[in-house]
Amino acid sequence: MRLSISALLGKIEMSRGTAGRLQKGAAAAVLLFLYLPIAIVVLLSFTPEQSPTFPIPGLSLRWYEALIEDQAFLNAIVFSSKLAVVSALGSGFIGLLAAFGLVRGDFGDTWLTEDLLRILFSLPIIIPFIITGIGGLVFFNFVGIYGDFSSLVVGHIMITLPFTSLVIASGLDGLDESLEEAARNLGATQLRSYVEVTIPMITPSIIAALLFAFILSFNNFIQTFFWLSFTDQTLPVLIYGLVTRTYDPTLNAVGTVLIVLSLLITVTAERISSRILT
């Protein structure tokens, strides 16, 4: 089989130009597939029509006005923002400490290796969300904080911790420790060398980590869906409820706001942390 495929492929000659065009075409098609749905939501958010018809007959901001006037959306946005800010700060602080431990810790003679810890810290996002979702539900119920704002914060810190700890750790990894030593040799206390040398140098990673944690918490659906009590609503859970019921054009407007917000925040975070394959 292997030989025959190879022999078959050996019969197909292709000029450099054809191969290049094919590769470009395929890449463009996949990019279109990735961004088409996003473009459709943005486009439909500007239609004056009630129904999602194509092409859109004109441009209008009426769904954005409807969004601003809708108290349920505003309440959900405020609730989600509060949750995301508190969770990001908590996760950022714990993640910062963990990053120092990971990078600077003395892993001399313990079974708890750095690799093992990195896997442990990644677990909340490797384990399928439905499992942590219902697991969290029974756990919070068992501990007696189910439905509390605090249970959501506890859960969201768990979900975002992989990002804050590992993003800050990679920032700290590239840091030259001799600068801190120099500061200490010049008479700075440990505290001052941290505040004036180390922390400023990893500030980009810390900001990136906080941004990732914020958007991850703000957008989280599955776990939050199971952890929420009936009285509170985050924005994604409110949107889900509307989507399952009926078509509401306001969804395109709120979707566009979320798309723009998410892309702005994460592209900024990816760039300042230069996380991607560099």
């Binding site: 190879s6 459709i40 120092f100 677990l123 399928p128 892309l263």
Partner: protein, 307 residues
């Protein structure tokens, strides 16, 4: 005066946290909060879930041990077939993701001069709200959606609109879209390590472009493909939103049934059984893949399940 002391003591304690020293088997005390958080919350969640799967009726306060829920699962054709259907949908998604993702990964790794920009473009959609992304596919696949508009109204290939929504294919499409990046990134990572002078050598020895790709490039990207496939399979098998919103009532996956037991069904112990069985399947898969294939998860853990 005393207040000042307290503040000073607090400050000292706060900053002492930042001083690394090993405690017990913990290599550095600063790791402790994160370790505790993960072990207590995540470990506690999973432990409670497993315990509930063996309990008679934990919601009513009856914590006695029973295997009844497991027997119910073993005796139930419905839930076993749902489990199999979920695996089939996940497998289809995984294959589709490889076929769609590989060419783009190849382009990014080998042909493009703007690798980092393109990778950012690929990864960015991951961060967009998943409810909105699935909703977007409803707009595309609906009877009066984008595809039917193009095919029926614009080109006129079909007289009647196609029924695309509420099918298994709709679920697969709705899963391939968010999961593509998890396939592309590890493949790109594996391609970047290839020594392309070998490809040139193969061509100089008379191989055609496709032959050189098949004999030299493809085998060296195996670990990337395997890592990507594992991520996509695990994430898609646990899908919740796409089956509900795009698959309709006939294409529910295991996560939907688990969810149902915890919302309307109010049968927490049976829901826990489903979750335990499903998790066991996934862990078994991980073990099999990592034992039988030489998978490097490194490239992809960089991006982690960015959702």
């Amino acid at each position: 005066m005393a207040d000042k002391d307290v503040v000073e003591a607090g400050k000292t304690w706060f900053w002492s946290l930042f001083k690394g020293r090993s405690v017990w088997f913990i290599p550095d005390v600063r790791l402790l909060p994160a370790i505790l958080w993960t072990v207590v919350v995540l470990g506690g969640s999973i432990l409670t879930m497993v315990l509930y799967s063996f309990m008679t009726d934990p919601l009513a306060g009856d914590f006695s041990i029973t295997f009844a829920s497991y027997r119910r699962f073993i005796g139930s054709d419905l839930y076993q077939s749902v489990m199999i259907d979920s695996v089939v949908i996940a497998a289809k998604t995984t294959v589709a993701t490889v076929l769609i993702g590989y060419p783009l990964a190849y382009y990014i790794a080998v042909r493009s001069n703007h690798q980092n920009v393109l990778l950012l473009v690929i990864i960015a959609p991951i961060w967009i709200n998943e409810v909105i992304r699935t909703f977007a596919w409803m707009l595309i696949l609906n009877v009066n959606g984008v595809i039917n508009y193009v095919l029926v109204d614009l080109i006129g290939v079909f007289g009647d609109p196609l029924r695309l929504m509420n099918t298994e294919n709709a679920v697969v499409i709705g899963l391939v879209h968010p999961l593509l990046p998890y396939m592309i990134v590890p493949i790109v990572a594996s391609m970047l390590r290839i020594d392309f002078s070998e490809v040139e050598a193969a061509k100089n020895l008379g191989a055609t472009k496709l032959q050189a790709f098949y004999e030299v490039t493809l085998p060296q990207t195996k670990s990337g493909i395997a890592a990507g496939m594992t991520f996509v399979f695990v994430l898609s098998s646990g899908a919740y939103l796409a089956p509900v919103l795009l698959g309709g009532t006939g294409n529910n996956m295991i996560a939907n049934f688990i969810g149902l037991m915890f919302s309307e069904g109010q049968n927490w112990n049976f829901g826990a059984v489903l979750a335990v069985v499903y998790s066991t399947l996934i862990v078994a898969l991980f073990v099999v893949v990592s034992v039988f294939m030489d998978v490097e998860f490194g490239g992809a853990t960089e991006m982690e399940a960015d959702e």
